[in-house]
Amino acid sequence: MTDVRQLQNIASQVRRDIVRMVHAVQSGHPGGSLGCADFMTALYFNTMEHNPHFSMDAVGEDVFFLSNGHISPVFYSVLARSGYFPTPELGSFRKLNSRLQGHPTTHEHLPGIRVASGSLGQGLSVAIGAALSKKMNGDDKTVFSLHGDGELQEGQIWEAVMFASANKVDNLISTIDFNGQQIDGPTEKVLSLGNLRAKFEAFDWQVLEMNGNDMNEVVNTLDKSKTLTGKGKPTCILMHTIMGKGVDFMEGKHEWHGIAPNDEQLKKALDQLPVTLGDY
């Protein structure tokens, strides 16, 4: 049985890690990272079958690709907290000679990363390739990916969306962080995504929706998504989140996409996230 309370506690620690990492170097992307903390925690601590003794080829494992690489703080925290590398290394985020680059990369050989991301729109294609690779290898495990909603403005995403359904890539579960915010403002104002559910359905994907900041719902929806694999269609989860979730003054504000809290704001943020498993 899934212990939702325990997952919530981990997510609280992940949020503490995010704000502390970004504060320490006064750069990075806290907004989307905080919004996706519950999803990433559920994925790595409940949903996926994965091995922290990292192997690039991931044979017999579920794999995850972060396409919106700027939310690297949440990725790094979840990887460290699930044992891919020591948590003190989180303190090297964005510093010189670090494996924790501003955007995730395989280049510095950080365990848990399988492709570089940051330039948006590329991760879905890579996830499809990994999913095809599993099929060719007779590996029945699943490929997960996460994308920003603003990222869907990239054309390559739609090449990949069309490909995945046409080729029945049904071992793929792609989640969209639907927080409605991007750097220049609300997605509605910058470039409206329109009816995303209808768009994915028109491309013949199976579509689930969830509140990405309700741990119960995240766990249940991810469980459900796994039951939808192997049925001839790729699966999309439209995940409604609040950018900056967990830190009240960041919540729902696109201004917190890519700026760091100051000392006072850090203290305020950590006070709102009292549950800790032990800061790095």
Partner: protein, 321 residues
């Protein structure tokens, strides 16, 4: 002597790729081929027929194809992407940069219809910047074979070569003269086609044959010509280049590519850092191409053998000045 080089037949370099990829796929079940609606042009028919489970048709979506190829490496596959050179490079530069090169993925980017000899389709398809684009990419190996046999050999060799590779070849039938078994091709090792003492001619791709033609004329004029096929532009066989130019003390570089950023610039970089000599460049000069028959285009843009002879005589004069 260059007149001793025998032409076996005339075949398309892309046909060498087609035969090479079939044999590679047969020998190695990790090899996967992707295309973006150009399976026919890249001569993939036999591969698709015998290995349908290792063929991925991406439709007209090159960016997606590059990403899928990167993903296929995870799990141990060796993906070969296939499309025209323009759509293999310029169109997908950032996808190659992030998902393949920076990510260290073992993807083979196989590009046909490169350069002016694509012919009548014109400048939209005649990329003359791809060697430069790809050689600037950290970690990318760049190979430009000169004929059918060498393209086949290179196609096979890159399967066992770890890391991203850009393999550039072309459309027209072209004199085929390297060894049928490909034993004269080694990645990263310059191929000395003729030893000589007066001038070094460095060439790649289709222009190796044009350089042979030019070299024969120069031999008739009494010059001793060293002709070297630089099929691997990166990593560059610097030792072979230095050895040659320190003997001949002048050089001409020949490529079906912009002289800005291509083979010539690579040779010049080695020369200025090791053994400065006069060099003349044969290549397009910061221009787009146009529609026309391949040979007429080479002539109009100064890439045929008479131009190479003229450049050689000019550089020989500069050497003795």
């Amino acid at each position: 002597m260059l007149k001793d080089i025998q032409v076996l037949n005339e075949k398309e370099t892309r046909g060498g790729f087609g035969e090479g990829i079939y044999e590679t796929g047969k020998a190695n079940d990790r090899v996967v081929v992707l295309t973006a609606d150009l399976a026919g042009s890249l001569k993939l028919g036999p591969f698709i027929k015998d290995f349908p489970g290792r063929f991925v048709q991406c439709g007209i979506g090159e960016a997606n194809m590059i990403g899928i190829a990167a993903g296929l490496t995870i799990g141990g596959h060796i993906p070969y992407t296939t499309t025209f050179a323009n759509f293999s490079t310029g169109r997908v530069y950032d996808q190659i940069r992030q998902s393949v090169a920076y990510s260290g993925k073992n993807v083979k980017i196989c590009a046909s219809h490169a350069g002016l000899t694509l012919g009548e389709d014109g400048a939209t398809h005649q990329i003359l910047e791809d060697i430069g684009l790809m050689k600037m990419m950290p970690g990318m190996t760049v190979i430009v074979p000169c004929d059918f046999n060498q393209t086949k050999a290179a196609t096979k060799a890159i399967a066992d070569y770890q890391g991203p590779v850009y393999l550039r070849f072309g459309r027209p039938k072209w004199p085929n003269f390297t060894k049928e078994d490909g034993s004269d091709f080694v990645i990263g090792k310059a191929q000395v086609l003729n030893e000589g003492a007066d001038i070094s001619i460095f060439a790649c791709g289709h222009l190796v044959w044009k350089a042979i033609e030019a070299g024969r004329i120069l031999e008739e004029k009494g010059y001793s010509v060293e002709l070297i096929n630089i099929h691997t532009i990166k990593p560059l066989d610097e030792a072979a280049i230095i050895k040659s130019i320190s003997k001949t003390r002048c050089a001409v570089t020949c490529e079906e590519h912009n002289i800005i950023g291509g083979l010539g610039d690579s040779i010049a970089r080695v020369a200025v850092r090791n053994f400065p000599i006069p060099i003349e460049y044969i290549g397009t000069n910061d221009t787009f191409g146009e529609s026309g028959p391949p040979m007429d285009l080479l002539k109009k843009y100064g890439l045929d053998s008479p131009n190479i002879v003229t450049a050689a005589e000019k550089v020989l004069k500069r050497k003795s000045a």
